[in-house]
């Protein structure tokens, strides 16, 4: 993979170097898709949003001023699309019980009878990760987006502040609340397993 910075790669792409864009996609495809997926909690819309984000990057790369990092710009676009999607979803009173959930491949109906996976299930590989994923998805939107940007993309707090449009101290607070909540959720599941 190229050692060039994201910003140089984007400049090269604007100048006609399609391979530079390929490198950018390679760098960000995983983290971006996971941020979007955990934000919208649904694989189908997540794929659409993921594609839309890159299409906007292609269409609007000439608008990128270079005074911010490419990653900040990319996640700002992603966040706007996710927020739009979430707004649309609010019009729907209830999520379908047959809708597949991100990561787990389970429907909401499958999950409903039990607050967490069974002890047997925990013994199976990957279940703990599913539980963490569920805990993250259960976070309030504001805390979740901060948490995802920090832990999936590794953005600095001031960069997250730019993406989200709030002061860096607010980002830190949201991050702390998110962690405390995750901690509580995971502890509750542990206690449930012990019973």
């Amino acid at each position: 993979m190229s050692d060039r910075s994201d910003e140089l790669l984007l400049t090269a792409y604007r100048a006609g170097d399609a391979a530079a864009f390929e490198t950018l996609l390679e760098r960000y495809r995983g983290p971006l898709f996971n941020v979007v997926l955990r934000s919208v909690r649904d694989r189908g819309p997540a794929e659409e949003i993921y594609q839309d984000v890159w299409m906007r990057v292609i269409e609007r790369c000439d608008d990128f001023r270079g005074d911010a990092k490419f990653s900040t710009w990319l996640y700002t676009i992603a966040r706007h699309l996710c927020v739009d999607h979430q707004r649309k979803m609010r019009f729907r009173r209830h999520a379908s019980l047959d809708q597949l959930q991100a990561g787990s491949g389970q429907t909401l109906a499958d999950r409903a009878p039990n607050p967490g996976p069974s002890t047997e299930a925990l013994a199976m590989g990957g279940v703990l990760r599913d539980r963490i994923a569920s805990a993250v998805e259960g976070l309030p939107d504001e805390q979740r987006e901060v948490f995802l940007l920090r832990h999936l993309q590794g953005l600095a707090f001031n960069e997250i502040a730019q993406v989200v449009g709030v002061p860096a101290n607010t980002v830190k607070s949201r991050m702390r609340y998110a962690l405390e909540r995750l901690q509580r959720t995971l502890r509750d599941w542990e206690e449930h397993d012990e019973l």
């Binding site: 390929e22 495809r29 794929e47 890159w54 993250v136 901690q183």
Partner: protein, 278 residues
């Protein structure tokens, strides 16, 4: 730092954003409760680090890359088109500039020639007759094919050169200065006839001054090599001046010259007949 402040800072410490990490570590070392909170939070973060990572579908990535390449292709074709249109624009502008140049340069020359040919007082027609009649013009005409546009200038220049040589031989200024002192009445009469105004019956001295002025003008032109031909009025006046001082040969020469122009023809003819009678 107390425990509350430490617990506020625990998160920042884990996230490596603590303002005073040394102070937080000191509290963590001595307070088991703060230490427990720190460990819990660290464990929670380690736990969420195990968040499963999912891959986007390959066909979406393929579609994205195709769109990226399409944009590059569109941009390059747009650039090519722009370059082509620029080339056309440059070619069109060049042709236009050349066309304007071809039209404007002869126009400018014509204007310059007209200015030269117009002279300061006489009409173009009279000047042309004058030039045609002059020996210099004839010699130039006999010289052969020269550029038609450049000819009048050359003729005028030759005329002046001839005048300059002649003026150098005959000190005209002195002659007319003498004429002014003699005060010939004829000059005054000519001036009256020329202007036909009642007040024009001027003093003889004023008339001779006029002669001197006109001759000085001719001299100046000859010296400067100005490409303007001598006006028929000047020729008539100079002829009168020579007539006044009794230089019959020069007087006839200038009057005959003035007689070639329709404007001064009659007056010059009268002066010539007077000259003959004398």
């Amino acid at each position: 730092m107390n425990c509350d402040e430490c617990q506020e800072q625990v998160f920042e410490l884990i996230e490596r954003e603590s303002v005073d990490p040394q102070a937080v570590h000191e509290v963590l070392d001595r307070c088991p409760e703060c230490r427990a909170l720190f460990d819990e939070m660290k464990a929670a973060l380690a736990g969420v680090a195990g968040l499963p990572s999912e891959e986007p579908p390959t066909e979406i990535d393929v579609a994205i890359l195709r769109a990226a390449r399409d944009r590059v292709a569109k941009d390059s074709s747009r650039r090519r088109k722009w370059l082509q249109s620029t080339q056309w624009a440059v070619a069109a502008a060049t042709i236009l500039a050349v066309g304007i140049g071809v039209w404007a340069v002869p126009k400018g020359e014509e204007i310059a020639m007209e200015e030269v040919a117009m002279g300061d007082a006489s009409s173009e027609e009279g000047d042309a007759a004058e030039v045609e009649a002059s020996p210099a013009a004839k010699s130039i005409a006999a010289r052969g094919p020269e550029k038609r546009n450049a000819e009048p200038r050359t003729v005028a220049r030759a005329e002046h050169e001839a005048l300059a040589v002649r003026d150098a031989r005959s000190p005209a200024r002195e002659v007319f200065a003498g004429a002014a002192s003699q005060g010939p009445a004829r000059l005054a009469a000519d001036s009256a006839e020329d202007s036909s105004a009642p007040g024009a019956r001027a003093e003889p001295q004023a008339a001779s001054r006029e002669c001197a002025r006109r001759l000085a003008k001719v001299e100046r032109r000859a010296r400067e090599g100005t490409a303007k031909p001598i006006a028929p009025e000047d020729a008539l006046a100079i002829g009168r001046c020579y007539q006044a001082v009794g230089n019959v040969v020069e007087a006839r020469r200038w009057l005959e010259r003035a007689a070639l122009h329709p404007k001064t023809k009659d007056r010059a003819a009268r002066a010539l007949s007077e000259l003959q009678a004398e």
